[in-house]
Amino acid sequence: MKAKLACIVLASIMILAAGCQSGTGGGSPAVTTGSQPAPVSDSGSADAADAADAAETAADAADADVAAETADGEMGRYDSPLTVVMVNNTNDELSKQYEAIGESAEDNRWTRLYKEKLNIDIEYMWIAKPDAYDEKFNIMMASGALPDIMRVNAVQFKQLLDADQLADLTGVYDSYMDADYKAITDEDPFMLKLSVFGGKLMGLPQAPTFPYSNTHSLWIRSDWLEKLGLNPPSTMDELIDTARKFVQAKPDGADTYGIALSKDSLGNLRGADEAPGFRGLANGYHAYPNTWIQGAGGKLMNGSIAPEIKTVLSVMNGLYQEGVLSKEFAVKDKTTYYQDLVAGKVGIAYDWLGLGLNVNELKTLKPDAELKAYPLPSADDSPARPQTRAVIDYWYVASKNFSHPEAMIKMANLHIATLITSLAAEMSPDGKTPNSEYYGAPPEASSAFEMVNFWFSLTPDQNAQRVYIKDAAEKRDSSAVSKNDMPIYANLVAYDEGDLSQWGWNRTFGGPNGGSENVNVYKNDNRAMVDEYFGLPTDTMAEREATLDQLQIETFTKIVMGESPVDEFDAFASKWLSLGGQAITDEVNEWYAANK
């Protein structure tokens, strides 16, 4: 009897423990709104009193949601402390900088500034590194507990919109938003068009769009050109000829192929995942893959199924057969793609303006090597137009449950004023440097401006515009260089003075034939082919895009490798439409009719 009892007791203890593991009895998915009490870490700063204060107010804010009184004015201070819950993305570079200046994500110059000027306490629901960030963000969205203010990309934006989780910012934007920001939105019509849904402003774009910064250039090993006595190619025929000569001559001694391509190049990955290589080449034949272009009857069509692509694929198939494209491109991931460039196995690449940063080690390894950017060559008389997108990468949005959406606008105003406009030139708390430097890019912490992951840029097409730093660096005159751009200026000067490890920066923003310089050639000609569709992903896109991308990449790869005949392209085009492409085209045209 006793034994039996003991057994049961033991077993029931284990049941309790097992309950912890299985976790099925989660209860109702209660949405915790407002502030989640998070410990305010002291982190050994000098401001112990301040930290204690913050901890106290955090506790207050947790139970009293109406703690803060709305004070008027663009940057009006709240009478009683307001706690704003955010999430934070801290990369390695920023962690290093925190260490250098003895601050932390939780307690730094920006959190103190918001406290002092607006009486806002910033709390983080969580802090993560870039790779973990998206994962955590998605889990957070799914579990329903949102921070008050967050930075979202297009996909996250759409998900939160669809779930009706966001605050309408129209009213607070109209009455509080900084005039300079508003002026920029007048200049760049995409900004608000991309952020207004059903007449309501739902998010604040972080920066103006950057179509030209997004274009691709033709990058060539210019030392190879010199070695072989060639001129930079200006037509596709010349380019192909150059590539053939590179293959034959093997200028670096390695087994060489002509034009860089990776396994994802032929696909339709977007934004940060995009694999370079294909679009620049296609643009040379006036084909625009993965872009919405004007089709018949004033309607938009997807460039990937336009007949020009067929021409490009058949040319590429020829190049593949003769070894100008790597026989192994279909198994090269991005790491290998860049590796081949560094190792001197390939000397021509279609890539973004910052390619130099990706292959920075090339110069250390081979001090004679040089990469130069040229405009895309064209197959005929009309110049090639580089395709691009006018998109917003990030918006700041407020949770529907955040009772003070105007606080976000005020924070934005304070940020803009401190770094860019009215307060930028004022003396900072360190008594030596102006605000724009202290809060923007002090020498030992050049990313200070993004400490709380809340920052704005008012420079249109920023990376294209940064070409001005080149002239400043050549003249060794930094007076015109903005504080944020000072690190780039310093790197350019360092390279000029012999520091080869800064070569990537020189190739990106310096000259001659740097990346930024080259996209300005396009810009002066107004030559970009901007994607006509710039809305959020449509419903069918969200559902079918992965399938269609898979279809595209498989078909194109097979055609280029000669496994399928070029005519397979026609079958692909109709298959693409029937697998959801038609529905997407209809949605896009519906949007186009409304947003033209």
């Binding site: 034994a3 077993a11 912890c20 593991q21 976790g23 989660g26 790779d131 955590k136 799914a142 790491t335």
Partner: protein, 303 residues
């Protein structure tokens, strides 16, 4: 004489051929397992530029310890090791204790513990089905475990597989031993402590090893339950450093993001961290491995 004769039989030509083939095959498989590790080691000991150019295979080029000294100087790295050690001690201890205790009553036959089958099923069901990431995450959050070491220790505390393993091991222990102890007046605690535990040391060692290695290698829990970088266990920290940030397009004009572009190509540093992270398991596994075979295959008392 007899033994040497039988030895001669064993080393017949076909036997030798078999042993040779076997050795070659197994050596080949071991080499396949070792090569990736050798590659990582070689990368971690080479200079950045050679690695970026893909020159390094299995032998370091331009030997340097720079990446190791960089890792050693990193506060976050040591912090995460501390968290992992704490996790292993707490999580391993708790999990093994729970396993050893649960398996005992469940190993009793029907006549001693009538609802045994129902309870075993209760456990087994959690092995087959679980709530999924989001509900589990919400539960852990509502229990207030977020950002505490217990979020890594409690949810995986009951390892049903290990319980079943040990349960079967207990069952093989002859009932006569228990009956004799009962007649001598021992209770269940005493029987468990004096008979079952000492006799099942190999099995317990196996279970312990499973648990410890599991805790050491697990990273996803750390990622979703930990909201502060300083609370990341080692594998989560490594995962966040090692997984490639996207290399191609850059979204905004942020200089920090562009600088990251430069850092991403630095694989030597990542390799050094992976290697250091794998080191403890590499060192201890071979020595504990003998228990593995014994613990899983041997049943009951022998010799």
């Amino acid at each position: 004489m007899k033994t040497s004769a039988s030895r001669r039989v064993k080393t017949s030509a076909s036997r030798r051929a078999f042993v040779l083939c076997n050795t070659i095959l197994l050596a080949g498989i071991s080499v396949l397992c070792l090569l990736p590790l050798a590659h990582i080691l070689a990368i971690s000991l080479s200079d950045k530029a050679s690695v970026a150019a893909g020159y390094v295979n299995f032998w370091p080029r331009n030997l340097t310890m720079a990446s190791y000294s960089y890792v050693m100087a990193k506060k976050e790295f040591w912090q995460s090791i501390a968290v992992s050690v704490k996790r292993i001690i707490l999580g391993g201890g708790l999990s093994v204790a729970v396993t050893v205790l649960t398996a005992y009553p469940l190993s009793k036959p029907y006549r001693q513990f009538r609802r045994r089958t129902a309870y075993v099923w209760f456990f087994v069901v959690t092995m087959l089905f679980n709530g999924g990431i989001i509900p589990t995450y919400m539960l852990v959050r509502q229990l207030g475990l977020i950002d505490s070491i217990w979020a890594l220790v409690l949810p995986p505390a009951v390892q049903v597989f290990n319980i079943v393993l040990l349960l079967n091991f207990y069952r093989e222990i002859p009932a006569a031993l228990e009956e004799a102890a009962l007649i001598d007046g021992a209770g269940h605690w005493k029987i468990w402590r004096r008979i079952y535990v000492p006799l099942s040391v190999p099995a317990i060692a196996t279970v312990t090893l499973f648990t410890l290695v599991g805790h050491w290698n697990e990273w996803f829990g750390g990622l979703i339950y930990m909201n502060r970088l300083e609370n990341y266990p080692l594998q989560t920290y490594l995962q966040s450093v090692v997984v490639q940030t996207s290399l191609a397009q850059m979204s905004t004009g942020s200089i920090a993001e562009m600088t990251n572009r430069l850092l991403v190509s630095d694989r030597t540093f990542k390799a050094a961290q992976i290697f250091i992270g794998a080191l403890p398991v590499l060192c201890f596994y071979p020595f504990l491995q003998k228990y593995f075979v014994k613990g899983i295959t041997l049943g009951g008392v022998k010799g």
